[in-house]
């Protein structure tokens, strides 16, 4: 038998049919849905007069537009309330499990699916959200889809997909002080650019990846889409297995040992070939921050912004347009630049490890007066854990408030908007124009950089703490 990549093994095991000169029919093991990209899909089913084909394989949550305060009260914003109500109605009509607002397991779709054990190695996973790539951290083929495809999965548990090319990114070596997995992925995206992995499915490997916790691996896979990749995955190993063993899913049954056996083959065979290979030295990575209006526009926090010299006219125009939106000019250093907001949260960095990291920096210090901070756990379980571990006191003593879970300021569909022209150091994944509110200026960074900046009120190199 020829050597296969992990991606190929999973894809091939889920191929129901291949259309001649066309896409594959791919079976989906796990489908996640949320309130924003599902209503039109359910409506499509109704118009066709059909029901959900395999309701037990879909799990729903409300996260994108939910408020992060007073969740026990009715949602104030009318359209958001309507979407959340619609989701509840659709789920109950079709027999789909819903961890809606106020449920003990509610939270951001990519946080809850993984922490509860719904995501398991070898699966194919889709969701109407581009950061579905997060689930790849468990050795799954997971990717974001559009609403028409959500409808396909609801109707048939399958979608039509063209097989992507494969890329391996190997990160070897030890990480420096205050360098996190967020910095690894931001470094990679800055090298490849925002469209550099389009058409590819990425496998991350190497000693620096192996050394990471599951939370950190999820941060890396999460942002694969920001360089255009269809998804990103990491072969499961001991770290994966022990994380899974402690999830709700396995506490309720004794299938773990059998499942473990079936996961052993989930590796890329030695000698398997990729369409593209990239090698990165972990020691060369510094804490990163974005300066522009896409995630590829990132530099080390202590480095000056690029010069326009040597850029062609189109690149220069795009660069200057981005900088003028951000209120920066070429060649300046961001380190020390005043900020207005800090956002800790999202499916990229809203997990317990991120709250631990943030708390470790602000412990015994005080939030800067000029900074408004939004600290939003990725899920109810993360919120509980923050309280259980005593992190809440540390945060409160430092002048921070903890909010309730949801996507919040990552896409600002709820009330958590950054005002126009204000600077926000954000642990989320996108710095597009207006992403955090019309005119908002987003600076993506790790939880450590966000914490250091929250304390000083300026963009701050976390290595100083």
């Amino acid at each position: 038998m020829s050597s296969k990549t992990l991606f190929d093994k999973i894809w091939d095991a889920h191929r129901v049919h291949s259309i001649d000169d066309g896409p594959d029919v791919l079976y989906i093991d796990r489908h996640y849905i949320h309130e924003v990209t599902s209503p039109q899909a359910f409506r499509g089913l109704d118009e066709r007069g059909i029901t959900v084909f395999r309701p037990s394989l879909t799990l729903a949550t409300a996260d994108h537009n939910t408020p992060t305060r007073d969740q026990h009260l009715p949602i104030r914003e009318e359209l958001s309330r309507m979407q959340v109500d619609k989701l509840r109605e659709n789920c109950s009509r079709h027999g789909i499990e819903l961890f809606g607002l106020n449920h003990n397991y509610n939270g951001i779709v990519h946080v809850i699916g993984t922490e509860l054990g719904y995501t398991r190695p070898g699966m194919t996973i889709v969701c109407g959200d581009s950061h579905t790539s997060t689930h790849g951290a468990f050795g799954t083929v997971a990717f974001g889809i559009g609403t028409s495809e959500v409808e396909m999965v609801l109707a048939t548990q399958c979608i039509l997909q063209t097989r992507p090319k494969t890329m391996r990114i190997t990160v070897d070596g030890a990480l420096g002080k205050a360098v996190t997995s967020k910095d690894i992925i931001m470094h990679i995206i800055s090298l490849l650019t925002t469209g550099g992995a389009t058409g590819y499915f990425v496998e991350y490997s190497g000693s620096a990846i192996r050394a990471l916790s599951m939370e950190s691996r999820m941060t890396i896979c999460n942002m694969s889409i920001e360089m255009g990749a269809r998804g990103g995955l990491i072969a499961p190993d001991k770290t994966t297995f022990s994380y899974l063993k402690n999830t709700k899913y396995y506490s309720g049954n004794n299938a773990f040992d059998d499942d473990l056996k079936s996961w052993k083959d989930l590796i890329t065979d030695p000698g398997a070939s990729f369409d593209k290979e990239i090698a990165i030295n972990a020691e060369s990575i510094r804490p990163m921050i974005t300066y522009g209006t896409n995630p590829g526009m990132a530099i080390a926090v202590d480095a000056p912004l690029p010069d326009t010299e040597g850029m062609n006219s189109q690149d220069r125009d795009n660069y200057i347009k981005a900088l003028s939106y951000m209120g920066f000019s070429p060649g300046i250093k961001l380190d020390g630049h005043p900020i207005d907001y800090v956002f800790l949260g999202s499916c990229t960095n809203g997990r317990i490890e991120d709250f631990r990291a943030f708390a470790s920096v602000v412990k015994g210090r005080k939030k800067a007066e000029n900074v408004t901070a939004l600290l939003v756990p990725g899920s109810r379980l993360v919120e509980e854990q923050v309280k259980k571990e005593g992190l809440l006191e540390i945060l409160r003593d430092a002048g921070f408030e903890l909010r309730q879970p949801g996507c919040s300021s990552c896409l600002a569909m709820n009330e958590d908007k950054i005002p126009a022209g204000k600077y926000a150091v954000s642990t989320s994944n996108r710095n597009f124009e207006g992403r955090q509110g019309p005119g908002a200026r987003t600076l993506l960074a790790s939880p450590l950089t966000a914490a250091a900046s929250a304390v000083t009120g300026r963009i701050t190199d976390p290595r100083l703490f």
């Binding site: 095991a13 259309i19 896409p23 209503p39 795009n318 996108r430 207006g434």
Partner: protein, 200 residues
């Protein structure tokens, strides 16, 4: 469900010379709170098209009456970012049937094809040339044939062929829908499940 068919047509173009246009620009998140597919065209490129008081931004291309048509010509990596299909609905609802670029983000391309919007890929230099041409001469007619996979610009005598997956080409021409195709396969899918066993 049948979609509008797309095969042979001609139109003027709207040039948008920006690269990496993300779906947050195409339709900002705060306009996603709808449960239907209609009406998104009003908010297409909302924050470039209108200022915060809702007044039209005069120098944005969609507000320039010289430019109109069913074809949008855009810089590379069009449609990156969020998977929101609302971006495609907005482009389509506004009246575009084709977007020409040298490079599309994967999810946007899939979403477009699932909604009868043709994401048409030409070489980067040709896209830049076309943007320059239609910017200077907004009356330029571009002819497209999905059947022949051909783009033609009669005024400059240029023509190109473009790539499209033959299955997707058929779907566009006949207004067919992937979901119908899959629904017809339900029993095969059930067989696959039996063969594999133990799902859930």
């Amino acid at each position: 469900m049948a979609k509008e068919k797309l095969n042979i047509f001609e139109s003027t173009c709207v040039p948008l010379p920006l690269e990496n246009v993300d779906t947050d620009q195409i339709i900002p998140a705060r306009f996603l709170s709808s449960t239907s597919r209609e009406g998104f065209g009003n908010n297409l490129f909302r924050d470039w098209r209108f200022d915060q008081e809702g007044r039209a931004v005069q120098d944005f291309i969609l507000n320039n009456r010289k430019y109109s048509g069913k074809i949008l010509v855009a810089g590379k990596n069009f449609g990156c970012g969020s998977s929101r299909e609302h971006a495609v609905w907005a482009v389509y609802d506004y009246g575009f049937r084709v977007v020409i670029s040298s490079f599309f983000a994967d999810i946007f391309r899939n979403n477009a094809l699932n909604n009868g919007l043709l994401p048409l890929i030409l070489p980067d230099d040709e896209v830049k040339g076309l943007i320059a041409l239609v910017t200077a001469a907004p009356e330029t007619i571009v002819k497209i044939s999905v059947q022949e996979r051909k783009v033609e610009i009669p005024s400059s005598g240029k023509s190109f062929t473009f790539e499209i997956n033959p299955y997707k080409q058929e779907c566009l021409i006949h207004g067919l829908d992937d979901i119908d195709y899959l629904i017809n396969m339900r029993s095969r899918i059930a067989d696959y499940e039996k063969k594999r066993g133990g799902l859930g």
